[in-house]
């Protein structure tokens, strides 16, 4: 294992921020794995630290393939993690909206540029990231539609779903999007948690990464190869929104099957305790996402459901 200082930001009032990468094997820059870009992405940090520990063992056992190398960057934003802020500690900008960066630009542009300069030539790029709304997902691989995305390759992670979404203008400054423009095969892996550690979904994500790297001939690793992934697109999911605001009492979990007409949540009046609204499944399906906040606004997308026939 080699520890590499990817970027260092000097500070007057705090210790310097050091972004570190841990590399394994020698030769082709085969795969780069990036964890937390936001200060609350604790699960993403945890997964990367576990992966570093595993790669260290694999390297010791000679199971990083000859001529291949892997690098893991557990976090690019330790300054925000250390003070519990999601975005950059001083100006609240999002490092994952600054790629490919600019080394003469503003602070977070320089951080992004310093990171990207070190990771843009890898063959495969894997990012553990999070969604702006607080909620739980079925673990899945997400690819952005850029014209360079590779759905079949994404299935090699063996996660239950490969999800493709249209890139919007504000996505064009994310790491994933820019990796793809620089011809890295880029994938974002979502697990069930962000600001807490969910060991079960973390283990599933770690296994998916190891399985993927094994199938690409980068490491030698025997494991269960996971699922035959189902490909879904953003527009094919059903959004179930809240008609009223209040206390959100959820009855359906992620990955659970729901039938048309099921009461999948209730909205409780926060003063009287009465049921203000019942949230009904509009069709048969599988819960792909649900919010996990106890208090919700009206107009909030509470669930995203993968439609199924479910005649059995």
């Amino acid at each position: 294992m080699k520890e590499k200082l990817i970027f260092e930001l000097n500070s007057v009032y705090r210790d310097n921020m050091r972004i570190k990468g841990y590399s394994f094997g020698e030769g082709e820059e085969s795969a780069c794995i990036v964890g937390a870009t936001r200060g609350n992405e604790v699960q993403q940090l945890y997964i990367c630290s576990r992966l570093i520990n595993i790669f260290k063992q694999l390297e010791h056992q000679g199971k990083i393939k000859y001529g291949k190398s892997v690098m893991v960057i557990p976090t690019v934003n330790s300054h925000s993690m250390n003070i519990g802020k999601r975005f950059w500690s001083t100006d609240n900008t999002d490092i994952n909206r600054m790629f490919p960066g600019y080394n003469l630009g503003e602070t977070t542009q320089r951080i992004a540029a310093g990171v990207f300069e070190n990771i843009s030539s890898y063959k495969f790029g894997i990012q553990f990231t999070s969604f702006y709304m607080q909620g739980d997902y079925i673990p899945h691989v997400r690819v952005m539609q850029t014209g360079f995305e590779d759905i079949e390759l994404a299935k090699d992670f063996g996660l239950p779903y490969v999800y493709r979404r249209n890139a919007r203008p504000y996505d064009t400054t994310t790491l994933n999007y820019n990796w793809q423009l620089w011809e890295t095969k880029a994938f974002s892996v979502y697990t069930s948690a962000t600001d807490k550690i969910d060991v079960v979904s973390a283990r599933e994500a770690i296994n998916a990464v190891l399985s993927f790297l094994n199938k690409q001939g980068i490491i030698q690793y025997r494991c269960h190869e996971g699922f035959i992934s189902q490909f879904i697109e953003g527009h094919s999911l059903m959004n179930v929104k809240s008609a009223t605001a209040g206390i959100f009492i959820r009855h359906a979990d992620v990955d659970s099957r729901v039938k048309k007409g099921d009461v999948i949540a209730e909205i409780m009046d926060p003063y009287t305790g009465e049921t203000a609204d019942r949230v009904i499944a509009p069709q048969n399906g599988i819960v792909f996402f649900h919010v996990n906040q106890p208090l919700i606004y009206s107009q909030t997308p509470l669930f995203r459901i993968i439609p199924t026939d479910d005649l059995v």
């Binding site: 009032y13 503003e106 919007r168 605001a245």
Partner: protein
């Protein structure tokens, strides 16, 4: 007449409401009047537009007989942000000016954004007032995407600003309110002036004079207006950026909107721990300082100034 453009229930006994005030001619509407919309409060820490909304309406109401069209004033399209001194949308940590044109079936911020676009669409002009942020002070200026130059520069000249900056197009900016409106044919001018969390009355009065001149030009007002000042118009190549090379405390030694010479002293980045100067900031070119660092603490890369050559 106060109207609600969008309303979303909050969890406990409160509604988030996006409101506008509509001023109309005393003799009512024939249906053929033009409409101008004044929008501000997208970022909760930018308050300069609040004074403009007040002052513009005060002046119009004082001479309401001069109003020949519709003036819609939207003082707060991110009201929770203003109330909680939060730049983005509280609860989502989203920059509201990166979610337009919104999505009626999307999340709460996207839903609100779509309603705002629907309501503003069709205006003869929209003036979208920003105030930099807490870190930088800006001279009153209009920023125009080069794609909309031909339509917007003639309108911007009426706004009585010191400077019009025609900047290059960037895909990420396609999520802004102004881009989303311009692309559907509603001319939208972005004004930047002053500094975050403050109101600079002088700038507010200057812009109010300009908005009245613009609405007169559009045929919405027939009262007296000033002759707008002739703005400097420039493109990206004429703007130099100065970013901090070191962290520390920035103390300027030039004034805002002042001429500087190449290699002239702009300020210093100080180290309060060692008592030393970490970096001496010099002007890279002759020009005018139109953006100047207001918040003293800087990291490597923090923007110190922009100079118009």
């Amino acid at each position: 007449m106060i109207e609600t453009v969008a309303s979303v229930g909050l969890p406990i006994d409160e509604k988030l409401m996006i409101q506008k005030n509509r001023l109309v001619p005393v003799n009512g509407l024939s249906g053929n009047e033009k409409r101008i919309s004044i929008v501000t409060g997208t970022h909760g820490d930018e308050l300069e537009g609040q004074y403009v909304c007040y002052e513009l309406q005060r002046r119009i109401k004082e001479n309401i007989e001069c109003l020949t069209g519709i003036v819609d004033v939207y003082p707060a399209i991110n009201p929770l942000g203003i109330d909680s001194i939060t730049r983005g949308i509280p609860g989502f940590d989203l920059d509201m000016n990166r979610i337009f044109p919104g999505l009626e079936n999307g999340s709460m911020p996207e839903y609100i954004a779509s309603k705002i676009i629907d309501d503003l669409s069709g205006s003869a002009a929209v003036v979208d007032i920003h105030a930099s942020n807490i870190f930088l002070e800006e001279i009153p200026q209009v920023r125009i995407n080069e794609l909309s130059r031909d339509t917007l520069v003639p309108l911007a000249k009426h706004l009585n600003v010191d400077y019009i900056w025609v900047h290059s197009s960037a895909t990420v900016l396609e999520s802004t309110l102004a881009y989303s409106l311009n692309v559907i044919g509603t001319p939208t001018l972005v004004v930047e002036m002053g500094v975050g969390m403050r109101i600079t009355k002088k700038f507010g009065d200057q812009l109010t004079d300009g908005i009245l001149a613009l609405i007169k030009e559009l045929g919405i007002w027939n009262g007296d207006v000033i002759t707008p000042k002739e703005p400097i118009i420039s493109e990206d190549g004429e703007v130099s950026f100065i970013n901090a090379g070191k962290s520390g405390v920035f103390v300027p030694c030039v004034g805002h909107w002042k001429n500087v010479k190449k290699d002239g002293h702009i300020g210093d980045i100080l180290n309060p721990l060692t008592g030393e100067i970490n970096e001496r900031i010099l002007a890279p070119t002759d020009g005018i300082v139109f953006t100047l660092r207001e918040y003293p603490i800087v990291n490597e890369g923090s923007l110190i100034a922009r100079i118009l050559a």
